[in-house]
Symmetry: D2
């Protein structure tokens, strides 16, 4: 008998793949929900890119946000910006 991986090994691989496929589907479903919310927001006149920016900022602590901004301002000053 020609054997390409033991049966046990094959079953294991199949299970791994199936678990990943299932989780991937769930993830895609949530992604769809997110898309729907953005669409709703856009329909109410909100800007998608700005909403994303807000979410990004909300993920930072105030301290980190301020620190970043100050260094950036220093650099921008070298270009006469702001």
């Amino acid at each position: 008998m020609t054997q390409v991986g033991s049966n046990a090994s094959q079953e294991q691989l199949v299970l791994f793949v199936q678990r990943i496929e299932t989780l991937t589907e769930e993830k895609a479903s949530i992604q769809d929900d997110i898309k729907d919310v953005f669409a709703e927001a856009k329909a109410m006149g909100y800007d998608r890119a700005t909403i994303r920016e807000v979410i990004k900022i909300r993920k930072m602590t105030p301290a980190v946000r301020q620190e970043r901004q100050e260094l950036l301002d220093t650099y921008l000053a070298a270009f006469g910006i702001d």
Copy 2:
């Protein structure tokens, strides 16, 4: 009073953002789960990239898969590959 967006409008924006943040967390959680399964599989000796490839192939119908392969083979022939 200086007003930047009505209160109603502000509340609406907050709700949109919160919904997106919640969904995003759920998505990230599932992504972590996927990562864990890959890690498990890797610990059992399976190759991550190949598993991804398998999943990609399983998403195609056999007909499409074969078609793609044949076109690729035709192209490779121009380079004397295979």
Copy 3:
């Protein structure tokens, strides 16, 4: 004779692929140069991420930059940020 694409067609494909490969190499070479400049800048004490941010800002016109910032501020106000 079994023929998979005419000779002329095959040569054409080969030329397209070679052109893309050459251009891709050139691109990679420039990317290396960029990497080197960042390394130099870092050696002089500059922060890589902030330099990137500066470059991003410099790509915008002042008008667009200001417009974006104002909309963002409006949105952030809804969350009591800034």
Copy 4:
């Protein structure tokens, strides 16, 4: 006088940024060229995705290529594919 970085330091930063910007433009220009070649190829009836695949394969040594393929075949066998 309030000083945010010495003049010398500021000039240095400006030079670094300008060098990166120039290189980045060159890189973008080449990327455009690549896009053009793909467009030409498509106009001649070639498939973009397959061309990419060919290029990827050509970057591998034959040994690596074969190894990869064999591992994939082994995995696919667990699903009764091929």
